[in-house]
Symmetry: C2
Subunit: 97 residues, 2 copies
DNA sequence: AATATATATCGACTTTTTCCGATATACCAA
DNA sequence: TTGGTATATCGGAAAAAGTCGATATATATT
């Protein structure tokens, strides 16, 4: 995990918001049935009020930082939080920062 | 504490480095005697290899984010870490993020 | 194969950040 | 009060990030 990339990924309002939404998918994305593998891009885009390309880009920034993971199922890509990364981040802040 | 400003402040290599230096001033700034109130800008600037104006600006970004504090003594401004902010940050990541 | 839908990538433009040199301000010493 | 040193602020050029529309790719359906 690269500290810098993680902090950069977190330095954006929309991306922080997305992370929070993904914490409780059933609450924030009631349209979508089943959340085992995450939430699909379209749902997130709709809620974020940004274009599809922007949201797709933001999700890949979060993923490169290790904060979320994805699974492709058919034509959908489902994104979900990687809680391990958040734990690791708090440890990094306590030790390395 | 504004999450976004904190993460932005942490999204820069030099600023992260400065925070780490300030963790062990006696190790990283052996020239300066006494560290109770922190390290002065000149010492940090010299070690960072950036211009005085850049370092001064970076320190004020870190300060606005709440990550460091300063005390003016004569013509020097001494900067030191605000450890409370780092603790608070780990709690924010665990709860709000 | 043709069409439709979901997502990713590309190119462009705008805004923000980085980092500098120059200048201003604050304090100290003679 | 004059000059010296430390820090802060200002203005700007270059690089990076934000954001879009258009296009490409992948998958599903007919």
């Amino acid at each position: 995990m690269n500290h810098l990339d993680v902090f950069k990924a977190l330095s954006n309002k929309a991306r922080l918001q997305i992370l929070q939404w993904l914490k409780d998918p059933e609450v924030h994305f009631p349209d979508q049935p089943g959340f085992e593998s995450g939430v699909c891009v379209g749902q997130i885009q709709q809620k974020a009020g940004l274009t599809q390309s922007t949201v797709s880009e933001y999700l890949s920034i979060l993923q490169r930082a290790g904060l979320i993971e994805s699974t492709r199922v058919g034509q959908w890509t489902y994104y979900r939080r990687n809680e391990k990364a958040f734990l690791e981040l708090t440890q990094i802040i306590q030790k390395d920062l």
